[in-house]
Symmetry: C2
Subunit: 379 residues, 2 copies
């Protein structure tokens, strides 16, 4: 199984605060900055795994919360682990389950020990402690394991931000201890919390770095705050993080968020936007976002982007894609999700190339100019 070296991170080039390089995992290499599509329940919604790979994704994210409830971490372990279960032999990062416990489950009760909650599927009671979060991710066989943390919506009072940040730090320590018995080669990332409070963010980052993680995530952003606040928090945190460890901005974001965060030194991203928006008829292109529900596409014979690498963006007219979306055909969701996965990967490839060439600022400016120019209407 382990044809590649154990976890490692290398930086090949830097451009301002941004860097490009690669994360090595037991299942292969991840070119950074990297975008990780989200396969929540062991599946990418509406996209075959072969097309996820063809889009350019090196790594995907699986959701511990969903997988622990169904089919269960022990079941997946019996079946050879998550890579084999879903037939994705490339790197996988799993979250800790904490975020979805907060957003999806009912009757959760959180204390210093962990969180007890009812499954949103059948009401069964579950408990998630730092130790259990590590155990589940070990059973899944994740290449990159995330600590359990408490992620809260913004805005919040400072005292509440501090309580959640400190609890996350305590859980980080317990996760680190629990991870000591994990199989070799895998990596555990700590998660910086602290909401939109600069001093809490700094304190969280410092304490985590003292614990020495293989990588550091910035969590608790893109949870209701303006983009400027998110970028300011990244600028606050990044200087505290060691240059030789990957930095992962969790749950972010739009194409513009990715440019802003990569420019500030973030190496990894994940987000459901490409597939979720694709299912709802919204695609990202070089010309900005395009809503295919709009009646202006109904008779438009042009493809979305004849120069795209993505077959779905080249091989079908906007009129057809509009028809599929209006008719509620599965294939509409499938094709538009694919368009978005390709666009996100192409954007990251562009970012990586630009950093290597020392021209990230120019790349970002040109990309934003293309979006701002907008989609030209059919003649």
């Amino acid at each position: 199984m382990t044809a590649f070296p154990a976890f490692a991170f290398r930086v090949d080039a830097i451009d301002g605060a941004a860097r490009t390089g690669a994360v090595s995992t037991p299942h292969g290499e991840v070119r950074t900055p990297a975008f990780m599509p989200v396969g929540t329940q062991g599946a990418m919604k509406g996209v075959h795994w072969r097309d996820v790979k063809a889009s350019g994704a090196d790594i995907v994210l699986g959701n511990t919360y969903h997988l622990m409830l169904r089919p269960g971490a022990e079941r997946i372990a019996e079946l050879g682990g998550l890579h084999r279960f879903v037939n994705w032999p490339h790197p996988i990062l799993t979250d800790s389950g904490g975020f979805q416990v907060m957003s999806l489950s009912e009757l959760r009760k959180i204390d210093h020990n962990g969180v007890a909650f009812r499954s949103h599927l059948d009401g069964a009671m579950f408990a998630l402690t730092p130790e259990r979060a590590i155990e589940i991710q070990t059973l899944l066989g994740s290449d990159i394991v995330m600590q359990l943390d408490e992620c809260i919506r913004l805005p919040q009072p400072q005292a509440e931000l501090e309580r959640a940040m400190k609890l996350s730090l305590a859980w980080a320590e317990r996760c680190k201890r629990a991870f000591e018995s994990a199989p070799p080669g895998r990596a555990l990332f700590g998660i910086v919390q602290g909401g939109d409070d600069r001093s809490l963010r700094a304190a969280s980052a410092r304490a985590l770095v003292d614990m020495d993680f293989a990588g550091y995530a910035v969590g608790g952003l893109a949870v209701g705050e303006p983009q400027a606040v998110m970028l300011a928090m990244i600028e606050e945190v990044v200087p505290f993080l060691p240059a030789d460890r990957p930095r992962y901005l969790m749950g972010v974001g739009t194409p513009d968020d990715l440019l802003g965060a990569a420019s500030r030194g973030i190496d990894m991203f994940d987000c459901v936007l490409p597939t979720r928006n694709g299912r709802h008829g919204l695609v990202y292109t070089r010309f900005g976002a395009i809503n295919l529900r709009n009646a202006r596409h109904a008779a438009d014979p042009r493809p979305l982007d004849p120069e795209s690498r993505c077959p779905a963006a080249r091989d079908y007219s906007r009129a057809y894609l509009h028809h599929l979306v209006k008719a509620g055909e599965m294939i509409g969701a499938m094709l538009l999700s694919e368009v978005n996965l390709y666009y996100y990967q192409d954007l990251m490839a562009g970012v990586r190339g630009a950093i290597a060439a020392g021209k990230l600022a120019e790349f970002c400016a040109a990309t934003r100019e293309g979006w701002a120019r907008g989609d030209v209407a059919a003649v």
Copy 2:
């Protein structure tokens, strides 16, 4: 566009009442006996067109009723016709819309002239006459065009069967006249009606053959009657049909129906079963039908059929497919629809090869034996 000859049919081998050969159309050749997957609204539900082709389909069916309502036949014609609109450059047969008018629309009013109905989408009034049915299919650019007919559910009183059969004959004549101005190379098929009444079936077939169609369909079956009645009606009708014209059994059926009907001289089939059942977790295999919702699959690491040509049947465990179905993941419906489309095409390829070898009876017996042996449980 026309790289292939105009419409033609050739028989390469016969075995009892069964024949194998090919239908030639302006968009290519269709090996017969042929199964046509149904792309109702200009899309195969949950299956990329490239996978429809890879499954072995030479031809697909489009539904005139759905396409006339949305996006509209004139719109599709403006966009270059149905082949180009959906990006399927291979043969297409369209039905006349009559069947769905009867089954889906509201407030329909049928008289000798045609049928007036309200769209099931928005309540708008539409009219479908024999002439309009031909016009729509001409606008779509179908390779094989079906006459407008009246298809009624069984059982029915004899007088009602006779009324509908005679109306269908009158409409067949009007369709034939209207089709005279259609572009060259395309074919119009007449449809034998008469329900489960042998003498009405015979009368319908005789009258249609007198009108001289390029092919003949048997309609109004698989609408509630037992399989034995359906097969008896095929046996009644086939002897009246000219040997040098293709015979198409509409809307049929299960794998066993296909064996029975091909053995009785049918050359073409269409049915929504492979994709509809796939969406609901039911797959057809060499070992019979398998319901992946069943809990017995939850921990089964075996693929559905390691010897299948279909990637979805080989590359995923039953446990994973079960999980996807239970979780309601789109990819579950997508993979299982693909499994079924491949199975149907492999079955037809087997039928064709067996007819060519003069061993169709043996092939049918061996295939049914495999189904009856059933799916072996995991060890």
